[in-house]
Symmetry: C2
Subunit: 404 residues, 2 copies
């Protein structure tokens, strides 16, 4: 009799009827002889509602108190789900992260799990209880409540699965798996039966929002198979795992895109050693995450430096860059918020030369201008105008035969 960890997202527990549906699904799985540990997010919309309350009382609420506030969202979900299971005749008990003993570091609002105590959960499982754990939250060494950042409930689930040596971690969400591309852009996108941890990591970091990045890292580290599936139907979803995959033959497994990209260009920078380092050190100090960087060839000792950031950091990045114009002896800073990043991902690229050329020429055939390029072992990314996203994703999906 193995342990199954299931995680339900906010839309799965958004109202009473959905909570009761989830309760039924859990009891059904338990009836097949499994020990059940459930991780739940805050009801959909609750986190935003709480953040609005915070903004009502303070211009810049402290991170510690934000975490204290936000943690109530999951606490509501776990209590309601436990009640629903008990009401259906099952046995369930809810536990906050503090009660389980999910220890994290001290970084409020994006804490990392450092240790999980499995004692209380195992004790309750042995009494036949369904154990319902608040996702997204932990406690630091001082017993202060921390949160793991948006999507952190996925991480809670995989970390619990690792710590309990669960057979499987099922992530129930509002999509029914990982697709070869976003089905809203590519109607004939295919759901993947399986994907490797590395490919999933790459997809997630390149814009595919199905799983929280850190949960995949943890899954890989502890070799926990993660089954991503829909809480609204019974269809099998996508299994994220290590080892041999059935679909290993494929060069490219998916097309990822991210259309919340801004591109900044600092023009005519004095091209001396250390100039780029200075710029990016200053941006890092301001907590701005720079993604791609391109430096133009130097002309008369002057070069243009372009880089991309998340759209939400763009204004701050522009401020930082502008404040350095004099120091850099640069001419100007330009910001363009209408960029997108299109990527192809697949471990097969490692052994298949010519993938990049195929990608670039496919985009060129559609007259899509590639402005920046970056590559990793198992992905190639390009920055293009945001207006070309849809056609670019469809073209690459078709060229790499992902609809087959």
């Amino acid at each position: 009799m193995g342990i199954i960890v299931q995680k339900y997202g906010g839309t799965s527990v958004a109202d009473a009827q959905r909570v009761r549906n989830v309760a039924e699904r859990i009891l059904y799985t338990q009836s097949k002889g499994h020990q059940m540990v459930i991780v739940v997010s805050a009801p959909a919309g609750k986190t935003d509602e709480l953040l609005a309350l915070a903004r009502g009382v303070a211009k810049k609420p402290s991170s510690r108190e934000i975490d204290m506030l936000l943690a109530t969202g999951e606490q509501i979900s776990i209590a309601l789900l436990a009640m629903a299971i008990n009401d259906l005749g099952g046995k369930a008990i809810s536990l906050t992260a503090a009660q389980v003993g999910i220890k994290t570091d001290d970084i409020h609002q994006k804490a990392k799990i450092t240790e999980i105590s499995s004692r209380r959960i195992e004790e309750e499982l042995s009494k036949g209880q369904v154990v319902i754990v608040a996702g997204f939250q932990g406690i630091n060494s001082q017993n202060d409540i921390t949160t793991l950042g948006r999507g952190g409930s996925d991480t809670t689930a995989v970390a619990l699965a690792a710590s309990l040596k669960a057979d499987l971690c099922e992530i129930y969400t509002d999509v029914d798996g990982v697709y070869t591309a976003d089905p809203r852009l590519v109607p004939n996108a295919k759901k993947l039966k399986e994907i490797s941890y590395d490919e999933m990591l790459e997809m997630a970091s390149l814009g595919t929002k199905v799983l929280h990045l850190r949960s995949v890292e943890l899954g890989k580290k502890y070799n926990v198979p993660i089954h991503v599936r829909s809480s609204f139907n019974e269809n099998p979803g996508t299994i994220v795992k290590g080892g041999a995959l059935m679909e290993q033959g494929r060069v490219v497994v998916g097309v990822a895109h991210d259309n919340k990209i801004s591109k900044l260009t600092i023009s005519k920078v004095d091209d001396k050693p250390g100039v780029a380092a200075k710029i990016f050190a200053r941006l890092a100090q301001s907590d701005i995450n720079v993604d791609m960087i391109v430096q133009s060839a130097s002309k008369e000792g002057l070069a243009d430096i372009s880089f991309t950031v998340n759209k939400e950091d763009a204004l701050k990045a522009e401020e930082v860059a502008t404040s350095m114009i004099e120091e850099l002896v640069a001419q100007s800073v330009e910001r363009d918020d209408n960029k997108a990043k299109i990527s192809i991902v697949g471990t097969g690229m490692l052994t298949n030369p010519g993938v990049a050329a195929k990608m670039f020429s496919a985009l060129a055939n559609k007259k899509i201008n590639i402005e920046m390029i970056s590559t990793s072992d198992i992905s190639i990314s390009t920055v293009i105008p945001a207006s070309d996203v849809e056609i670019a994703v469809q073209t690459l999906h078709s060229v790499f035969e992902l609809d087959k």
Copy 2:
């Protein structure tokens, strides 16, 4: 530099502006050189909102999970209040009952505090923090969240004041003190400057809703002066205390009333020893709190037994009594939901004979029918028709010269 514990009720933190007003008041008191420990209730309406959620998912939610759910209400309040104080330039930290270490027994939804650890609070006070503690909640020996019952935040505040050896415990509420009678019924009711613990206990148990009964018991036990006052103005309120009182001369300090009383009568019960015991044992088993009991004189070996209960327990009490008719060889059970209890309270009664007579004749002069009577050392209570409450309270208030 002494410690002051302040408790703010749900209406005081019902919206952003009120939270900010409370924050300002706290910082003002702190600026006079006090160490501040604040206890807050859930925002007004939040507890009912959460209970409605619970009823949506389960017909009979378990008490443990209700407590898990309700505790989020205070957690929201403490986080918001800490944010507001920090935003005003103060230093504040919020703590749940679990973080403080407010230990209780295991009775969910009406737990009693058994122990409070003052370590974390003292540590934070010594850093100059305003310490904001979630009222109404505790944890039991298994670290499960418990709640203290409605009004339990008052108890949290007084218990903290006792444990921290605070100079004063201020209870901020939506009325500005304890009155000689309910000002809604008696427009010329007077606010009491002081009242003794015993008198306040009696007033609270007889229907005066200003302070939670258990908080007064604790105040008496640990000799913590409790200042009841309004959070909406600066007026001094009422101080509940032991020892000599300035207004000690008074025979009667107040008139209390409770118009949520039902009277049940079991007619023609076989008048044998042990019959009454049987009835009230059965009611107790059903968790029904019986207040007054009157047994009529026996006629031909048969007697009528009347008793009062809270209106909300009346239907259940009627069921229990009806189920015993055969066993008791009784004739019938009658229920009357239109009763009220009117009481006068005052330690002076102990040494002043004739108070009861004065009360009964005053009611008789107004043609108010007294149906039941009970007395304690410092109070006399009568059950009357609910329709006579207003005139009865006004009459007694005037006869005992409480408006002087």
